[in-house]
Amino acid sequence: MFNSSFDAVIPIVCVVLAALAAMAAEAFRGKGERMPIGLLGLVGLVAAGVSSALLWNRNAASFGVLVADNFGLFVTGILVVVGILTILFSSEVLERDGIPAGEYYALMLFSLSGMIMMAMANDLLVVFVALEIMSIAVYVLTGIRRDKPEATEASFKYFLLGAFSSAFFLYGIAFTFGVAGTTRLDAIGELMAAQAMVDNPLVLLAMGLLMVGFCFKISVVPFHMWTPDAYQGAPAIVTGFMSTGVKAAAFAAFARVFLSAFEPYIADWAPAIWVLAALTMIVGTVVGVAQVNLKRMLAYSSIAHGGYLLVGLLSANEVGKAAILFYLAAYAVTNLAAFGVIAVLGARDQGNDELRDYAGLWHSRPALATLMTVSLLSLGGLPPTAGFIGKWYIFAAAVSAGYYGLAIIGVLTSVISVFFYLRVVVMMFMKDREVAGMPAQVSGLGMAALAVAIAAIFYLGILPTQVLDLAARSISTIF
């Protein structure tokens, strides 16, 4: 069954078909009729997950520009999980908030198809097209609640800055093409290896411009200005989706471009990444401490996590290799769980996302408070959660690669960040306050999704070897 030259496209096609089905279902939906459109998305995502599992170890390539190597498939797996959890949470939220289901699911699935394409792309042009598919859908999702001015503002800011960063990225591709005469990553890599000793200023320029484009998408300081506003203004469920999916896909493409194509120039780009990683960890953590809005606080936390990922990219030695993908997986489930709790606790007219809204949550919603606590502790990196193992391996890799400075900054900022995560926990458990305006009931699907996410956090935290092994073997396919 899997022997044609179209193999690598199959996971993407599954998701695109699901998106088209969601669009068609919305078109044929009678007025006021309810349709299980989310279910179509689930089917498509499960199909994408199954086909990626079947493609495992086959190194399928399509059209020469798309490679389903284990690295791409591992990230696809993460993205499929992100998509499934997001759909499960969405079923809870869409009707409550008056978000049009057909359009929402279609855009979300299109965005996911772009993300998967980005993770598998072996050609800078395809990376760019995938980046735009992903981004444009996410810009719209950010502003999908047209009745909220702050959502529109967030969407507009995100769009303008995103378009600006795309221009940088495109300029970088142009210079790369000018130097190498091709946009294929493997061909660029060979060419760079052949002439790595020559200090070609055009290559440096191209790398710098591409770096700006990627760093914008994973909100690295100083390209993070849009993040707090976009994450706060968007519906919580969309924030959860974009803070995990967009980041995972963009980081996968970043790692592939810089670790395979520009690997010979590592001595040139490593110092830049060092500075960016240090800045990102420090600014994300320090500014995060001062936030009173939970979504904004988690936005800064996700900026800081981008910094940890960069540390992993920089110290991609034997230990670090596995750490990158493991951290990506751990961060994705954890952050999604946290935003899932925020999403189900919101109401149509009030987000319930201020820190004080969470006072006394333990007394009114013990289950949700516990789940939130687990995900916050995992974000902070406390054992026995996924976040702890992820950070442990990242810092161990940094130390063994000789980046002591970054490891120290990383540990210190983690300690500071625990303070603001614990502040929420203290709010939930110690304060006593009757919460008004919280939704009365959380349905089965939302709770099931939360339970799965929490189970994954503990699984990755207590029995990480299997996934670590898988991650190590996956990333070894790209370098």
């Binding site: 359009e103 097209v129 969407s155 190498a180 020559v198 440096l204």
Partner: protein, 177 residues
């Protein structure tokens, strides 16, 4: 030699028009100057033996997209800026804008340094074969539907997403009817 002269003519035209675009108080003038800039770019493409790209540039950018621009400017009825305002007021007042200006200058310096210090490109920039074959429309089509087939097809998804997005953000909702 005349080709070099033509290059500098078109280049000066493109840069000059682009600089004037951001200096205009009347948005309508900006749009018209942008058309001039695109036209000059098309001239540069012709000098590069890429007539197809030049024609596409005129039809798509100077034609279709600029008509859209003009419509938007007219529909939004963008107000003319105050004629007495100091054009550099923004740079003088705001600290952050000043930082941005400095960064932009740095980028300009970087770009010129990189482009000037390149002496003969190392990579296989010469696409091989004579220019007439490389720039011919059939050859362009062949490359587009073989080497860049996937990117071409993926672009259709991109356009679909943009359409759905525009409808979602601007269309009428069921509950608003």
């Amino acid at each position: 030699m005349p080709e070099t002269l033509q290059f500098y003519l078109f280049a000066a035209l493109a840069i000059g028009a682009s600089a004037l675009v951001i200096g205009q108080r009347n948005p309508m003038h900006s749009v018209l100057l942008l058309i001039a800039s695109f036209g000059a770019l098309a001239g540069l493409y012709v000098l590069l033996d890429a007539p197809f790209v030049a024609v596409a540039q005129i039809i798509i950018y100077a034609g279709a997209i600029m008509v859209l621009f003009l419509f938007v400017v007219m529909l939004l009825n963008a107000p003319q800026e105050d004629a007495h305002k100091d054009p550099f007021a923004l740079v003088r007042q705001s600290g952050l804008t000043r930082v941005g200006a400095v960064l932009a200058l740095l980028l300009l310096l970087q770009l010129s340094w990189a482009l000037l210090s390149v002496s003969g490109l190392a990579g296989p920039v010469d696409a091989g074969g004579d220019a007439a074959v490389v720039s011919s429309v059939p050859e362009l089509g062949r490359v587009l539907f073989t080497d860049y087939m996937f990117a071409f097809e993926a672009t259709s998804v991109l356009i679909l997403v943009a359409m759905v997005g525009a409808v979602v953000l601007a269309g009428r909702r069921e509950n608003e009817e």
